[in-house]
Symmetry: C2
Subunit: 365 residues, 2 copies
């Protein structure tokens, strides 16, 4: 057991945004929102997944919507406490712990803010080990745990509680409500016991995010390449160094979708990379060949500072380093790939782990 | 207090479909569904609005969606009981009575079916004295009664519970969920006390529907004009006799929208009528001039049989009689017209009561 105080927030938000693979929201906005609350409430207790009692009732929370919109319309305050209360009433149990639904600059901070507001401890883990664009894309789905009862609360005070026959229906109904709510809603979902959480959550995400945040800070202080340090830390692969030459984006069906074009610089000079995203980066192609793909993490970092660049903040002229990091091993199983593999997102390439695709002649570390 | 047995169902459904002004669903489908249940459960108790205890907890129910779709996808059974239970849990009170949200061929029968399934009495009244396409269009809104807590249940078993900041937000969020649910959902909403119901419901709707149904039956037996008998009974106006020459319809935003063109016959020979509808008929124009408009009821009856013709069943070649019936007086107030007048639906004509518009040279009764 440990605590998260104000000093830890910036590193956690930065590291979680790296794990967010372009999604999960803006870390700067996230850390500002969390700092403001934790300065008032004091530190939040962080509980290791392994230390959770089997009969704990754990509730992951997040912001759902298009990151492009959320950055302009953060929560008004009190939404998460209302969402937790609504799920608890429908689930018929008192919630004892808050968790992260996903990693991400905003979605690591919202659970922290929720824990601070409700006075509940935060579990050190998350539902997927990265960020994904749709609700059913969590390990809990592989374990047969229901998304619902799920609550959604908007900044005006509207509340929607869902109880659905499967997790795909929860995504469908919640996505429409999110669009109505202005493409941003505070959500609480996948209530589960401590026993269930031990397999359905990825352990240690908050601690890992903090460590990755510190790796960037330290590399910067030591004048080392922050992206290279992250790739080493995560046993990932360096995919590309380049300059953003074009970003096409659209807010569609409640998602931020689009494509970014990169022109190579330094050792990648003369080559191009295309990044396709739906809130998160889904596929990276180099000169037309897939070099990384969902469910692996495609992370874009500012080449100078090592700061993660989210899909909604990518823009022309940015000099970025693209890294590929291995996803949680359960996503590489047949059932994992069915839920979050390339085919689900409409791509026709087979999934090959990023270590195998980009591992040979392409590592610039 | 009286009872509704199987023998009363066809008349109630027919009369309610006349009051439905083209909407509220198909009376034949409605009566089949209600008969099947009431044959099993026995008669349903019908309670006069004036006899309701002040502390009764009354819950209106209906099917929400596009009538074009609902006719192909009726409830599977059990949805209404689930919706009532979900509202009761959120409202924090036991429901004592079921009511009709609106008049209509299907939406007079669904409350009856719900009452039979839950064993609760049905209140003789409804929320608007006709059918309207959007949820906030009830007298309860004028009284400041909230649409929510509201529950929506689909045929698959998905449940959505809404608690919104105002009634327009309930309509917005519920409409999207209805679209996701396949354009048809069983809903329970506007929980209210017996005291509130006495002004927020139109009294006597079920009895009136039964009487109108009988008027049609009797006129037919006596070889009198059924449409003329309805107009006399309701102090309405005969608007047009004609043949449907064209119907343009589209299922849009979860509604059945469209326009029907009529060519006059008999005394209306050489004239034309256009009916604009959004689930219900909204405006009737004769040779380009408005002769009836929301919130008054525009009712289309089969010229031979007097059977009400709903907007989704209107088609080329039908010989129909169009009647205009006065709406509940509260809809003619300034606040009533703001909620359901022509301007809300995007028309630029001022509302004039149908008796004044069509009353002079046009009555063919």
């Amino acid at each position: 057991m440990s605590h998260i105080d104000v000093d830890a927030i910036a590193d956690i938000a930065r590291g979680a945004a790296i794990l967010g693979a372009g999604g999960g929201g803006d870390p700067y906005l996230g850390s500002l929102l969390a700092e403001r609350v934790i300065e008032q409430t004091g530190p939040v207790e962080l509980v290791r997944l392994g230390d959770l009692p089997d009969d704990a009732v754990l509730l992951p929370v997040a912001i759902m919507g298009a990151p492009t919109v959320i950055v302009e319309k953060p929560p008004a305050g009190g939404e998460f406490a209302a969402a937790v209360a609504a799920v608890a009433a429908s689930y018929g149990a008192t919630v004892t712990h808050i968790a992260c639904l996903e990693a991400g600059g905003l979605n690591s901070m919202m659970p922290l803010l929720c824990a601070a507001e409700t006075g509940l401890p935060l579990v050190d883990g998350d539902g997927m080990g990265r960020a994904f664009p749709e609700l059913q894309m969590v390990l809990a789905t592989l374990d047969g745990i229901s998304t619902t009862p799920m609550a959604m609360v908007d900044d005006k005070g509207n509340t929607v509680v869902l109880n659905t026959v499967d997790n795909a229906w929860a995504e469908r109904l919640a996505r429409s409500a999110t669009v109505d709510m202005g493409c941003g809603a505070c959500i609480a979902l996948y209530p589960m016991t401590g026993r269930e959480a031990k397999t359905a959550l990825v352990p240690g995400t908050v601690s890992l995010a903090r460590r990755l945040g510190q790796v960037v800070t330290t590399a910067r202080q030591d004048h080392r390449d922050p992206a290279g340090a992250i790739v080493s830390e995560m046993d990932g692969r360096m995919l590309f160094r380049g300059k953003v030459t074009d970003v096409e984006r659209r807010t569609q069906d409640g998602f931020a979708r689009g494509e970014a074009q990169l022109a190579g610089i330094n050792e990648d000079s003369g080559h191009t990379m295309t990044l396709c995203f739906q809130n998160e980066h889904l596929v990276a192609t180099r000169d037309g060949d897939v070099v990384a793909s969902v469910p692996d993490l495609i992370c874009v970092l500012d080449s100078d500072t090592g700061e993660p660049v989210t899909t909604e903040s990518l823009r022309y002229g940015f000099r970025v380093t693209v890294a590929g990091l291995p996803c949680h091993p359960r996503w590489r199983s047949a059932e994992g790939l069915e839920l979050v593999g390339p085919a689900y997102f409409g791509y026709d390439h087979d999934y090959v782990p990023v270590e195998d695709l980009a591992g040979k002649g392409m590592s610039h570390v």
